[in-house]
Amino acid sequence: MSLLVEEATKSVAAPAPPKYSAKDFQSDQDVRWCPGCGDYSILAQTQRILPDLGIPRHKMVFVSGIGCSSRFPYYMNTYGFHGIHGRATAIASGLKLARPDLSVWVVTGDGDGLSIGGNHMIHLLRRNIDIKVLLFNNQIYGLTKGQYSPTSEKGKITKSTPFGSLDYPFNPASLALGSSASFVARTMDRDPKHMQLVLKRAAEHKGTSFVEIYQNCNVFNDGAFFKFTEKDTKDDQVVFIEHGKPLIFGKERNKGIRLNGFTLEVVSLSDGKYSVNDLLVHDETDTTLSFILADMTYKPHLPRPVGIFLANDRPCYDEEMTKQIDTARQKRGDGDMKKLLNSGETWVIN
């Protein structure tokens, strides 16, 4: 970091971490999402967990691309950058590399992050720059008024696909894992407690955190996730995966997931054939297991996995970049432009 930056950003206030409430993270801007939009819940949960992180507000930056989700930074009383379509991840990468001292968050959607910005997303994940990515997945293009997105189910009837979409959807969690992400999780707008837990873990993770958030677009894709979020169906349709715990689900908590070879199967815990001991136990540090669990996503006979698929430590690009620079400065000393200009083969004309 240059001296100039250090001077500008040194806090004059006492170094004690400020005591914030959620309110301190609300900006003065009116929130303009459609009434009933799932985005409200994500904004609220984020504002709720941020005070617990012990990071001063002025050290936080929310970066977004284009789309409904990308209005998020305007509503946060932190630093914010509303970028261009698909490029939030790249803008954030440059910011974090220039300023490793900042807490950098990306807010994006299924279109912004996986379609137009898909390339930057996979490269951010493989580099493992210490950035938190919140991907609002509503399986539709909202801001452009209802075209299908790269996570829409095949056959989706929309304005641009009156005869049904032909594309097979991305499974964001599998895509992230395939890009060697170090932290991959899924949560849901209508499960605030779970979301807070996941967001906190994401914030604490060192490296790129990828959080897919199921978000209801009540105008263009209402109820896309109701099966997983609503009381009547949730328990039988969702399996919450937790580190060190067996995969149990169902209203009566009487169903489990068992690994049979490389295949997952649902087994009953009430017919005496299988017990809890036969079930798959989640290990969020196991990359292979994370792939298997994420792959449940579009399998109709399996419940939808929700939770933290993977939380793994591996070197962060930003830290390694800083290390290279520190090493170079130790070895060669602070760069001297005058010396450089006069280095190598030179000659004098009198």
Partner: protein
């Protein structure tokens, strides 16, 4: 043996040509460095194919390197060469057209076997059918002589074959009275880990030199004395290296970290390579996944308080357009370097052109004014890119710096500047929360404050949506939009207030002004010098600032009867001048992927002056 006679010349142009795997660029670079150390003025032109190793012996695989050096001022790599070193038949075929009548051909006879002749499209050996009568031809079996020089070293035939360029280099060193020492030093350090290769090349280099000394076929040597350049300490520098160093110098002056987000692209990649070395200068280089990530990461870095920069060539600039618009909107400093090449599309990746001027000036959606500067010579890249960075930081704006393949790869001696005397760059970060508004502008420059994340009390949001004047809140108000469009335009226009006025070289009014920009400088200057020697009155203006233009330019232009605009495009500057100043201009366009020959401009000057007298 009696000393061979030495003839003194005031300038010479040599072209080294061979297969792209023959090491011609390296040979040319070594000859250049040695020549620079002798105090000659010089200018070089590497000319190589886009394929890394095109099939051996083919016409499209020919790689060339031309150096023009002298004891007088040298402004171009030379219209034609006096000496052509041809390592094979294809190299001769491709380059013979650029050899002056009476010029010398030094050919590796082994490169003219039946297979080579056929690949080059010769029906007969040109050395045997009298077709080269107007040249002085020296056939030397370089391959065999190289092998003989190395026969006791037990080297692989591949290593032996790869050494033959040093035989040619040795011969040329002898012929032009150049010492072999600096190349020997270079080989020693380059192949420190492989002493057998260093040894082989040194031996072959000396063998080539001794061959010149002892053989009967060369009966004269040439002496080219040092040039009368301004006093001082010099080094040789390419445009791309000068660009990289200029960027670093600007960041150092500004006391900022330099961040480069870049995607490899010919002919700009060398800037990325060069900057990647200097981590101890707090230079952060980020090889992004594409051109768009290159520029947007740089914008992110600028938001964080670094000098954000990105480097590219024409196709990359096209991909960066939207992000340039974002930088205009968020009003952050950003340097965008475009080393132009032949276009459109992939075009001619390794050839030079100036056809991105319109793209730089206008290639964005909406009203998106961006300052544009262009370098005139390889060494001038340093000062111009430094100036471009200064403007970006002072006015909180993206700036496009235009170089081109010819400048980027070309080199010339450079009077090393005194870092302390470079113009001041002193950006300040806003720190005071009282009265802070993200778009409250400086009264003089109209720049908005640079408030970087991490500063307590200045939390704010920026973005690509239109901003309300002063507060920076999102605004869709129609009148506000027009106000902001005009403010952004005015901010860039005001830069002209501090720019140097256009300086006319020659008479301030008259029959003919030749005006150019970028790398045509040398060719125009040489052409004008020749015309003046013939008693013609011709004036010259060369533009570094293409947006905004110097304040007096209209006035200057209107004082001339004819305005000639030579450009390596179809008249882009010419059109801009007509549009801005309502002056008739005479375009002289060349789009062949090659720089102008000064004779081409000379001819046009003659033609115009004949018509007007």
């Amino acid at each position: 043996m009696p000393e061979k006679p030495t003839q003194t010349l005031d300038e010479v142009t040599i072209r080294f040509a061979g297969d792209s795997g023959d090491g011609m660029q390296l040979t040319g670079t070594q000859f250049t460095n040695t020549t620079a150390l002798l105090g000659n003025d010089l200018s070089t032109l590497p000319d190589y194919p886009a394929e890394i190793r095109a099939p051996q012996g083919t016409l499209f695989g020919v790689s060339g390197f031309q150096i023009h050096f002298g004891s007088k001022e040298i402004h171009t790599p030379g219209d034609q060469c006096d000496v052509l070193v041809a390592m094979n038949a294809a190299a001769l075929k491709v380059n013979l057209g650029s050899l002056v009548d009476g010029g010398a051909i030094i050919a590796n006879s082994d490169g003219f076997n039946d297979k080579n002749l056929k690949l080059a499209g010769y029906s007969a050996n040109p050395f045997k059918d009298n077709s080269l009568q107007k040249y002085r031809v020296f056939e030397v079996d370089i391959t065999k002589l190289t092998a003989l020089a190395l026969q006791d070293l037990n080297l692989s035939s591949k290593i032996v074959d790869r050494s033959k360029n040093f035989f040619a280099l040795g011969m040329m060193y002898w012929m032009y009275n150049r010492p072999v020492d600096s190349t020997i030093d270079w080989l020693g350090s380059k192949f420190g880990g492989k002493p057998e290769i260093a040894e082989a090349n040194i031996r072959v280099l000396k063998a080539g030199w001794n061959y010149g000394e002892t053989t009967e076929i060369f009966n004269v040597r040439y002496q080219v004395g040092p040039a009368k350049l301004p006093a001082g300490k010099y080094r040789n520098i390419t445009g791309n290296q000068a660009t990289a160093w200029g960027m670093m110098a600007a960041a150092r002056k500004a006391k900022l970290d330099l961040f480069l987000g870049s995607y490899p692209i010919t002919p700009a990649s060398d800037i990325l390579h060069e900057l990647s070395i200097y981590k101890n200068f707090n230079v952060k280089t980020f090889q992004a996944e594409d051109e768009i990530a290159g520029i947007t990461s740089a914008i992110g870095a600028s938001f964080g308080g670094a000098l954000g920069t990105t480097t590219t060539s024409g196709p990359g600039l096209a991909l960066k357009s939207e992000a340039l618009g974002l930088a205009v909107m968020v009003e952050l400093p950003l340097l965008c370097v475009n080393v132009q090449r032949g276009g459109p599309s992939t075009g001619l990746p390794t050839k030079t052109e100036q056809a991105d001027l319109f793209q730089a000036l206008f290639g964005r959606n909406g009203e998106a004014p961006i300052p544009v500067l262009a370098a005139a010579t390889p060494a001038d890249c340093f000062e111009t890119v430094f100036e471009a960075s200064r403007i970006a930081l002072k006015y909180m704006t993206p700036v496009i710096f235009l170089s081109d393949g010819y400048l980027g790869n070309g080199s010339e001696p450079w009077l090393i500047p005194d870092f302390d005397k470079l113009p001041d760059i002193s950006p300040t970060f806003r720190t005071k929360p009282e009265g802070f508004l993200p778009y409250l502008r400086d009264e003089a420059t109209l720049a908005r404050p640079w408030a970087i994340p991490g500063t307590p009390g200045l939390e704010h949001r920026i973005g690509g949506l239109e901003k309300q004047n002063i507060t920076g809140s999102v605004s869709y108000d129609p009148i506000n939009h027009e106000t902001m469009v005009r403010l952004r335009t005015e901010k860039v226009a005001r830069i002209a207030n501090e720019l140097p006025l256009a300086v006319v070289d020659g008479e301030k009014e008259g029959d003919l002004l030749v005006i150019g920009w970028g790398s045509t400088y040398g060719a125009i200057r040489s052409a004008i010098a020749t015309a003046r020697e013939r008693g013609k009155k011709v004036s010259q203006v060369h533009l570094r600032y293409l947006n905004p233009m110097p304040k007096n330019l209209g006035e200057v232009l209107h004082k001339f009867k004819n305005i000639l605009v030579p450009e390596m495009n179809l008249g882009q500057l010419s059109n801009v001048l007509r549009m801005r100043y309502l002056v008739p201009t005479i375009p002289l366009d060349k789009v062949q992927g090659l720089p102008f020959k000064s004779s081409e401009i000379e001819k046009k000057i003659e033609e115009i002056l004949k018509g007007s007298s």
